[in-house]
Amino acid sequence: MQRMDTAPSRGPSVECRDIAIKRGDNTIWSHGTFTIPRGTITAIVGTNGAGKTTLMKAELGLIPLSHGTMRVLGAAPGERNSRIGYVPQSYTNDIDSNLTAEQSVLLGLTGTRFGFHPVTRAQRAKAYEAMAFIGIADKAGLRLSELSGGLRQRVAIAQALVCDPELLMLDEPLANLDLASQRTAVQILAKLNAEFGMSIQIVAHDLNMLLPILTGAVYLLDGHPHYAKLNDVLDSRLLTHLYGTKVQVVTTPQGDMFVTPNMSESAGERDMHDAGEIARFRHHGGASAHAGAEGEAQ
């Protein structure tokens, strides 16, 4: 795909100073001061209800900040949304549309235009290019309602990509996907970052699947967002605090890293507990719950 970098600045993709968000009287999170560099793949992690999606919506200008300032691609949130590709969480679940994959991707180019504008050949070519990049060109004529969750996810990513975004935001893109579809999605994200230098943000539970491609993470801890590079995030003590349960980082002889709950009998065996499971473990609390947690994880 050809990309036009019309962006005047090569500054950070997101810059936050003492940001906070309230819903009613309830502060969701506060005191967020961090900078996400351009061209990075960043996970937004935290327990359920920590405000991960809220952070993403604040970056898109859909939810106002109650305090502080935020710059997204060098402008106020919402001002440069035409340069941002957004794939919300509900995508794979709720979309039961009769539109075809191609029509859906085309709306990423034409969907905001009022007035009478027939689709041009260039637009069609652009949509095809995006679908080809994502590997769904052969599904162009199928209805969304006929596609599997994984393919619908890829249509949504193609729709987000078709306008050549500088920043791609995905909310729980791996949820509800089977292992093979998760791998494909992760590979696509890595390719976008490597070939176009695209900045990518991913709200995620499953850190393990993303570990190989992540540059860093925004973690929502104790009601405050922080940013850290990957090596700093992969600190057992931090992760333990983050998820409220004992978490260990294991490096295999092959050099792969895994985040696992600290269970003496299983930690050495490289079994992959994802962060979502880790988040669930916290409800059991204490070492006595290990047997129960094991049962749940199997």
């Binding site: 009769n98 905001t112 949504a156």
Partner: protein, 279 residues
Amino acid sequence: MNSFSYDPAWAETLTTPFMLNAALAGLCIAVAAGVVGYFTIARHSTFAAHAIAHIGLPGATGAVLLGLPVAVGLGGFALGGALVIAALGKRASEREIATGTVLAFATGLGLFFARMSSSASQQLQSILFGSILTITDDQIIGFAVFDAILLAVITVIYRPLLFSSLDEQVAQAKGVPIGIMNALFMAILAGVITIAVPAVGTLLIFALVVTPAATATIVTTTPLRAILVSTALCLVSIWGGLVIAAMFPAPPSFVIVTLSTLFWGIAKGIESLRHHSAA
């Protein structure tokens, strides 16, 4: 009991002025219902379409009670109901108990108004089940003007409306004013229902606004083609209804709804057969 017999003079009946009016009204209604039906399904607003027609009933009988034209009361109540549903947003479709209760109350209120005056009582059946054979020249001019406005508005908002129907969150992030889109669509839907009620009445409106569009989305994939097919199915149902009602002593509304349902049933049947053979 009336005898159900074939009327050999049906071709002459078709040439009468009231039949010509009915045919022209049918054309206007088919265009309006065909255009809006596709979006009603795409936006998952089919229950809202049903609800708006029922909410319009007390408006219609109330208007007769006050000596106003039926369309004024019906349109006013339908528009009000539509804007309330739009304000409730997506949650409205999840509030089936609340919506259903309001519908029942509205229908009851419509009956109450009808009983308050003998003229409203006489009109109640035509409001509930339609009276396409009594449509006047003035009504047809009104329908045509409405169609012209509808087509102009839809042409302008076509893509943003489609985008917000597909995924409201993405459309909103990209700058589509989804609140305005929703209110505008609901207002359009109220208008289409107001002009479609004379054909089949408030109770049978679903078969004219939603069913042909549902059939069209089964047989074709692009929105534009679905709109054209849905308009054609509407037109065949209404005109077919008029012809068959001229041949046999059946009310046109009944035949219109029957044809519309039949087309949908056939499309559904063929679709499931294809799925079986593919699997």
